[in-house]
């Protein structure tokens, strides 16, 4: 049996209206404990108004070696960017 507590990824929302951002990870025995640890480790200087913790083991990540097949095909498809649309002046700043 490992003596290490499981790893959790921590997401914090800095202020209302913004989305949660990944800020780092920590070890904790369960979800409640992870929330408390996140509060102590990552919000000491009033960084957040909301905390999410996610077991790191439950995150499915893309593999770096798949970079080519996943992202390169988008390189020559610039038309997917909205800059191709002419925006009438009346619309103003978007």
């Amino acid at each position: 049996m490992s003596n290490e507590w499981p790893l959790w990824e921590v997401f914090i929302r800095g202020q209302h209206g913004l989305s949660h951002r990944h800020v780092g990870s920590l070890h904790a025995s369960d979800a409640e404990h992870a929330l408390q640890n996140a509060r102590d480790v990552y919000t000491r200087r009033k960084e957040g108004v909301s905390i999410w913790v996610v077991p790191a083991a439950d995150i499915t990540a893309s593999a770096p070696e798949d970079k080519g097949s996943l992202y390169d095909p988008a390189d020559d498809k610039v038309y997917r960017h909205p800059t191709f649309f002419d925006i009438p002046d009346d619309v103003g700043a978007m």
Binding site: L26, S29, E32, Q36, N37, R39, D40
Partner: protein, 232 residues
């Protein structure tokens, strides 16, 4: 109030760099800093009311053990993590009830300090309660250590509810709420509450501190006493 938060804050800060996990280390340091912050408010107010030109630092660093009015519980040594967390849980449970009562104090300064501190201590108690439950209801080893910590510290519980003339609120009246939280926590932690109601007394009256306080104060006070002009 200020002496108890000072002594416990100093005790807890000794864990800095030594706790069993980085996360616990930071949490204990945060709690220690909360308590030292509360100490500045309580001792600052005490010095102001005394009117003898003593500020919070003077009261903290230039009094000897017999002038301290802290609970005996908080001067007990850290020993292992289990004893530290059990001491914290017992103190937090009393502290939260005491502060809740003091938020209604007729003196505006006392009520203001209590209102600020009660938010911090609500979290302290939540954290120490969860830790006592996790370790009590944990492995055979952690359960045994938590039960032994409870048995060791139990004789220092009664003093928290012993009335004396300097109390800011009716301490005996806090006991039912303390007992209710204690019973629920110990039950979840599969720990057995000791049946004895024997209580060591003399900490908050200053009459009879345990031998541990003097040693701790010697370490805590050496710098400002050796170098009276030191600034930090």
């Amino acid at each position: 109030m200020g002496d108890s938060t000072l002594v416990l804050g100093q005790r807890l800060s000794a864990w800095c760099g030594h706790a069993p996990a980085l996360e616990e280390d930071i949490a204990l340091a945060n709690i220690a800093l909360d308590l030292i912050g509360q100490t500045q408010l309580w001792l600052g107010l005490a010095g102001q009311r005394e009117g003898k030109d003593r500020d919070a630092d003077t009261l903290a660093f230039h009094r000897d053990a017999w002038d301290f009015r802290n609970l005996l519980l908080v001067e007990q040594p850290n020993r292992d993590f289990g004893v530290t967390m059990m001491r914290q849980f017992l103190f937090d449970t009393w502290h939260l009830e005491a502060l809740r009562a003091l938020t209604h104090h007729t003196d505006a300064d006392i009520s203001a300090i209590a209102q600020k501190a009660v938010k911090e201590v609500t979290y302290h108690r939540e954290r120490s309660t969860d830790t006592v439950i996790a370790l009590g209801d944990g492995t055979e080893e952690s359960h045994a250590r938590m039960q032994s910590a409870l048995d060791r510290l139990w004789p220092y519980v009664g003093e928290m509810f012993e009335a004396d003339a300097d109390d800011l609120t009716d301490m005996a009246a806090l006991r039912p709420a303390f007992d209710a939280h204690l019973a629920a926590t110990l039950s979840a932690a599969t720990l057995t509450q000791p049946s004895s109601d024997f209580a060591h007394l003399g900490g908050k009256t200053g009459v009879r501190h345990t031998e541990h306080l003097g040693h701790m104060l010697a370490t805590m006070q050496v710098l400002p006493r050796s170098y009276p002009d030191a600034k930090w």
